[in-house]
């Protein structure tokens, strides 16, 4: 029985290695890959490797599912573009949709859920009104949650389209306003790169740093293997095509206040995915890297979440990162009184 997700990393790093897997191990690998939302990526990586027939069929299904997800993501982005046709400001695609729209390696086989876009903070109300006008609606009508999003978060409360049932998250920066690092949102918009259809994606260094901020300065590392895989591919692709990349990344990480997070991300990417990283940018190995790796790998061959205490520790940390202690106490108190779940 596979006790952690190491076998998935191995398969992604060295696709040929799966030829040694036994029939009992395949279902375990597939359960892990599905649970970590990396099955589409795995399908792509194992394209040219000999695998048993049923595994081939499963991977083929995953590849087709992700082709469709890609098409739907691009369509959804175009719907937003048309809804905002009269908005003169920049509309920047984020995360998965950006990777496929910019045709990056990180987009191949990647699962994509909601549409994430970023606009200038002062334009939020204009953009919001235009989207509401075009058929998007509020998902969370709760006044506390709504207020919370607007006062402290880096995005509007999520909107869902009433006919297509797809969500859009409208961001104005890349981290909650309560988080300690304060990324320079203006700089991100200023250097965003225009696509043919007028939508934009972040410049390479910002794209990497957004992924890093999302994984290491916000949230509890859930789905972290997938996010770290994104970072791995983005870094590989950008470093190969631009020799200034490492220098630029360093400068930009300072701009956004994400030096430590960047070092951590690069060390973990190198550790788990063999990402070739510039040693100066990665800093020194720390004991806590081991804890992060432990958390990221906490998934067994049944697809179950394991290492409950490690997971819980990172969950607590995610709230700590997001809010100062007093505010956290007030937030949890309000949430507890409402009997609701904590805000995700």
């Amino acid at each position: 029985m596979m006790r952690d997700a190491r076998s998935l990393l191995q398969a992604l790093r060295e696709p040929g290695s799966v030829e040694a897997l036994g029939n009992d191990q395949w279902p375990e690998l597939i359960s892990i890959a599905r649970a970590e939302s990396l099955i589409g990526t795995l399908a792509h990586r194992l394209k040219d490797v000999t695998v048993p027939d049923r595994v081939r069929a499963i991977l083929q299904d995953a590849a087709e599912a992700h082709d469709l997800a890609r098409q739907q993501a691009l369509w959804e982005a175009d719907c937003a573009r048309r809804a905002l046709a009269d908005y003169p400001g920049k509309i920047v695609l984020m995360k998965g949709t950006a990777y496929v729209a910019a045709d990056l390696a990180a987009g191949v086989g990647r699962s994509i859920g909601d549409l994430d876009i970023m606009v200038a903070r002062e334009d939020l109300s204009v953009v919001e009104a235009a989207l509401l006008d075009a058929g998007w609606e509020w998902v969370k009508p709760d006044p506390y949650d709504d207020r919370y999003y607007r006062d402290y978060m880096h995005e509007l409360p999520p909107l869902i389209h009433r006919e297509r049932d797809r969500m859009i998250d409208v961001h104005h920066t890349t981290l909650p306003l309560t988080a300690r690092p304060t990324p320079d949102a203006r700089a991100i918009l200023d250097s965003a790169i225009a696509l043919d259809n007028g939508l934009r994606v972040m410049a390479p260094t910002d794209m990497v740093l957004h992924s890093i901020a999302h994984l290491f300065a916000d949230g509890d590392l859930a789905g972290g293997l997938r996010n770290l895989w994104d970072i791995n591919l983005l870094v590989r692709q950008f470093a190969e095509t631009d020799e200034e990349f490492w220098t630029d990344l360093n400068v930009r990480a300072k701009t956004h206040g994400l030096i430590k997070e960047t070092q951590r991300a690069l060390r973990l990417a190198a550790r788990l995915y063999d990402t070739p990283v510039y040693r100066f940018s990665a800093g020194h190995t720390q004991f806590s890297d081991y804890l992060y790796a432990r958390r990221l790998l906490a998934r067994d061959g049944y697809g179950r979440e394991t290492r409950k205490w490690t997971r819980f520790a990172f969950y607590v940390r995610s709230h700590w990162l997001r809010m100062p202690p007093l505010m956290l106490a007030r937030h949890l108190w309000t949430k507890w009184r409402k009997g609701g779940k904590s805000l995700e």
Binding site: I30, V55, A65
Partner: protein, 289 residues
């Protein structure tokens, strides 16, 4: 974490691994599925997990949470006495959310002379009971939950899992099927009383054998016997609603479904008893080309 107990099952083209924190549901499953061939190489399409909802619920008022490769966030847990039902629901969930090799129709199907009769409709329409009854009257049972429509050939493939009998259907089937084919009686489940029935032997022996769709019915139990024509667009829309993966298949699903609607004669059928339904079905069947 603790090891789980697990078994593997092959049903039609799909193979499952069922992992459970308790032995009981797996022992019931292995008994009822004993005539089904195990997946040849042990490789499966899906994993279903039956786990305690909270760690202490393994022993204290054991409560089964249905998980697996594909899952729904709001699935209600079931008491351990309904563990078999939880396993069946888990397998259905994997198919509904994860299967892409065929268009899945939420329908029952039976076969005669190489041709398939497909019955679809809302729950309570009697499609499941009808397929079980017809299977005791000379038809080959193909499935009571999902009919798999082949995207290339347009044929229907069987998915003959255990027949899930509900409420009055349990008593009705007790009168025609041998007692050793029944699973444990589960009272007061979210869907009422449920008892599983092992399909007749030919259904299991021929579970890889497809059939060409010859007739589609929308049965409705409890009304004066009648047959009504339906418009093609209504049929199409109702089938998109009856399919769990129509949207997920994109263009391939659209082509398969339009071809199906174009080719397969369709009727709405009202009936009050199995005998009436059988008579109506025979009359339509004999007129088929």
């Amino acid at each position: 974490m603790r090891e789980m107990n697990q078994i593997r099952l092959g049903i039609g083209p799909a193979a499952f691994r069922i992992a459970s924190a308790w032995r009981q549901p797996l022992e019931q499953l292995s008994g009822l599925y004993q005539d089904y061939p195990a997946p040849t190489d042990g490789i499966v399409d899906f994993t279903v997990r039956l786990e305690p909802e909270k760690p202490w619920r393994r022993y204290i008022r054991p409560s089964v949470h249905i998980g697996g490769d594909f899952w729904l966030p709001d699935a209600a847990p079931l008491p351990l006495a309904q563990g078999l039902l939880a396993a069946e629901m888990g397998m259905n969930l994997q198919m509904a959310l994860g299967w892409r090799r065929h268009l899945l129709l939420h329908a029952s199907s039976v076969e005669k002379d190489g041709k398939a009769l497909i019955m679809t409709g809302l729950s309570g329409s009697g499609k499941s009971t009808l397929s079980a009854m017809l299977a005791e009257r000379g038809w080959r049972f193909m499935g009571d939950e999902f009919a798999l429509l082949d995207l290339d050939t347009g044929n229907i493939l069987p998915f003959p899992r255990l027949i899930s009998l509900k409420n009055q259907a349990i008593g009705a089937m007790r009168q025609v099927a041998a007692a050793d084919r029944f699973g444990p009686e589960m009272k007061g489940t979210p869907k009422g009383d449920i008892r599983h029935l092992v399909p007749p032997k030919p259904a299991i022996e021929r579970m890889d054998e497809s059939a060409s769709p010859a007739l589609l019915l929308f049965p409705r139990f409890g009304h004066e016997p009648a047959l009504r024509a339906m418009g093609q667009s209504e049929i199409f829309v109702r089938l998109t609603q009856a399919s769990t993966n129509y949207v997920a298949l994109g263009k391939a699903g659209f082509h398969a479904l339009t071809r199906f609607v174009d080719r397969v004669p369709t009727k709405a059928m009202d009936y009050q008893s199995t005998d009436q339904a059988e008579e109506l079905i025979e009359s339509l069947w004999n007129q088929l080309p």
